[in-house]
């Protein structure tokens, strides 16, 4: 297992290098004078020149790159123009909000998609199979920001079941004591049920919008791999040995079918992290996506760069975790390495 961990860590290194190089290139690609952008639109030539020296833009590209790496190594992503705060701190304080939303959406998506996919495969050709197909095709076709708005209109404006789409918690409630930064977990840990329900109600609509969007690849893959596993030789052996239908479907078929589903989680995270930006915009969710969008509007580029880098590093880390999870489930990978 340790060997597996090390070998997978080694494969993540080129990804991280690629990510760092690309984010560096993105800052140099800024049309016109990057210093002017980083200085803001109303900056004086003097201020621009100052920024240029500060950013090291007067140096050669390799030197700049080294400077960028050194900054990264010191956890320095620059400062936000509009708030003057270090981007790292701002991202760090906002990350739990995004993480809570994304993980909750993932749990919802997995919780719906996998049973749906399994049922669709076991009852192939029945109404549940057709339902699965409709849900998956419709799910990927729905722009996530549009679903979010639609939900807000129906459940907030029309039915008034959901709270106003504005943030993580009603203004009348104060956030729970900071432990993990996840409101649901923190409020549950401190036994603050009022805040727990409040946070859950705020979380529901954005998380469901995201879950619907990312459900499709999971459900499709579950159905497909269940179907192929159910048709395989060892399932016939299991049936020929008279094993109970539940054992055949879950212990034998499902545990094998879940392997390809784990690999598709990478794509699901790509969907979720992207959708995150849009959903946070719709629901005024105070995470890093909204932070980046607000920075974009004010042409404040350091936060945008920091955001892209953070997301990419997170994504590489998630992919690593997925690889390890795969190794845990599949002995062939675990023991081969």
């Amino acid at each position: 297992m340790l060997k597996l961990l090390l070998s997978r860590l080694a494969t993540a290194v080129p990804s991280i290098v690629g990510v760092v190089v690309v984010t560096f290139m993105l800052t140099r690609l800024l049309p016109g004078d990057p210093a002017a952008y980083f200085a803001g639109l109303a900056a004086s030539p003097q201020a621009i020149a100052e920024i240029r020296t500060k950013l090291g833009l007067d140096k050669s590209l390799p030197e700049q790159f080294v400077g960028y790496i050194v900054d990264l190594a010191h956890g320095n992503l620059g400062n936000s123009l509009s708030t003057g705060q270090p981007v790292v701190t701002e991202i760090a304080t906002r990350l739990p909000a995004s993480a809570e939303l994304t993980l909750f959406a993932l749990i919802l998506a997995v919780g719906i998609a996998i049973p749906l996919g399994v049922l669709a495969a076991v009852k192939q050709g029945t109404w549940i199979d057709h339902l699965c197909r409709i849900v998956t095709t419709a799910g990927v076709s729905l722009p996530v920001f549009f679903t979010g708005l639609l939900f807000a209109y129906v459940f907030y404006y029309l039915l008034q079941w959901a709270p106003a789409p504005s943030g993580r918690l009603d203004v009348f409630l104060s956030p729970p004591t900071h432990i993990t930064g996840f409101y649901l977990i923190d409020s549950a840990l401190t036994g603050n049920m009022e805040v727990f329900w409040g946070a859950l109600r705020q979380l529901a609509l954005p998380a469901i919008s995201m879950a619907i969007f990312s459900l499709a690849p999971l459900a499709r893959m579950t159905r497909g791999s269940m179907l192929s596993v159910l048709g395989s030789d060892f399932i016939r052996t299991a049936r020929a040995s008279g094993l109970a239908p539940g054992t055949v479907v879950f212990t034998y078929a499902f545990r094998n079918a879940v392997l390809p589903v784990i690999t598709v989680l990478g794509m699901v995270f790509s969907f979720l992290l992207g959708a995150n930006v849009l959903v946070e915009t719709v629901f005024a969710w105070p995470g890093i996506g909204l932070y980046a969008v607000n920075a974009l509007i004010t042409s404040d580029y350091a936060p945008v760069q920091g955001f892209v880098l953070t997301m990419a590093v997170l994504y590489v880390a998630l992919n690593l975790a997925i690889d390890l999870l795969y190794g845990l489930v599949d002995p062939r990978v675990r023991l081969d390495s």
């Binding site: 395989s232 030789d233 060892f234 016939r236 052996t237 299991a238 049936r239 020929a240 040995s241 008279g242 094993l243 109970a244 239908p245 054992t247 212990t251 034998y252 545990r255 094998n256 392997l259 489930v329 599949d330 002995p331 062939r332 023991l335």
Partner: protein, 322 residues
């Protein structure tokens, strides 16, 4: 000879629904296996040997349907049992081993657990003493170092080892009938002999009836008491192995034998029987499905096939047998 056979298949017909129409894969198939007897089911690829076995076990694909017949086993008709009752019998009273042992085992479950699953399911052991019972089973199929091997995954074992595991799973509950569907395909020649000897011995030990499905006439002659020849979903001839080799009566059996010069040549390699199997989707299949390739065809051959009893144990379905 009046004893009740372990398994008697009568009049078994099976159809498959496919996109290009209904395929009549089995047509009134009948044969029987006595207790302690080993019967070979031979015939070229596509003749319906596996489908016969699957139908008896009740594990046909959803597209397949039994349209007529009975499979009498232990006083009950297997084909009439509910899926639940049949599942009780499978693995306990009647078992099956398949070709390609590597793919026939669950790739991500330890082989010991796979044996234990069957034992626990059929009350052969409790969850707590199943691991020990699994080791016992590995000993019975002569796997060296059984304590360590129960912890192995199929991919860590050779094909021959995997087939022994399959045999252990099939025999775990000491069934009365074993169906072995080409159990040695994909194994090298020495392993083939070892596996066949093992099945033969275990069957002999427990007085188990065995159906051995194969392409390989030589193998069938060596290990089986009787041979049932299938062609295009028909049983064309059934006879004691030695008699069939000495006096084949059906033109197809004769061709098979004539085409088997050495001991190691299998039917799969034979291209010498002219023509192929008829298209089983045709609505106007001839009464004798071999008539398209037969050199002994006579006018009577268009009539429904007869069951000619050569002697008590030798039956042939042909209007103009040798």
């Amino acid at each position: 000879m009046t004893a009740v056979p372990a398994l008697a298949v009568e009049d078994l017909s099976v159809e498959f629904r496919t996109r290009s129409g209904i395929v009549k894969v089995l047509d009134h198939v009948g044969f029987s296996v006595d207790k302690g007897e080993t019967v070979a089911l031979v015939g070229e690829s596509g003749s319906g040997k596996s489908v016969t076995a699957f139908a008896v076990m009740g594990i046909l694909d959803p597209a397949g349907k039994v349209t007529s017949g009975r499979a009498l086993f232990g006083g009950a008709d297997l084909l009439a049992l509910s899926e639940r009752d049949l599942a009780e019998q499978r693995g306990r009273e009647l078992s099956m081993i398949f070709q390609n042992p590597r793919t026939a085992l669950n790739p991500i479950r330890k082989v010991g657990q796979q044996i234990a699953d069957v034992l626990v399911r059929h009350g052969g052991a409790t969850r707590s003493d199943a691991p020990r019972a699994a080791v016992e089973m590995l000993k019975r199929v002569r796997i060296p170092d059984p304590e360590r091997r129960v912890e192995a995954y199929p991919f860590e074992l050779s094909g021959g080892m995997c087939q022994r595991i399959m045999i252990a799973i099939a025999l775990a509950c000491r069934p009365a009938l074993l169906i072995a569907d080409e159990p040695t395909t994909g194994l090298d020649v020495t392993t083939q002999a070892v596996i066949m000897d093992l099945i033969g011995e275990l069957a002999h030990e427990s007085g188990m009836a065995t159906i051995f499905i194969t392409h390989d006439l030589a193998l069938a002659a060596e290990y089986c008491d009787r041979i049932v020849v299938m062609h295009a979903g028909h049983v064309v001839e059934a006879a004691p192995a030695r008699e069939l080799f000495a006096h084949p009566r059906h033109p197809y059996s004769a061709k098979l034998l004539a085409a088997t010069p050495g001991e190691t040549v299998s039917l799969a390699e034979l291209a010498s029987i002219p023509g192929g199997l008829p298209d089983l989707r045709r609505p106007d299949l001839p009464a004798c499905r071999y008539s398209g390739r037969c050199e002994r065809r006579i006018d009577d051959c268009t009539k429904p096939l007869p069951h000619r009893v050569v002697d008590e144990r030798h039956v042939v379905s042909c209007w103009n047998p040798l």
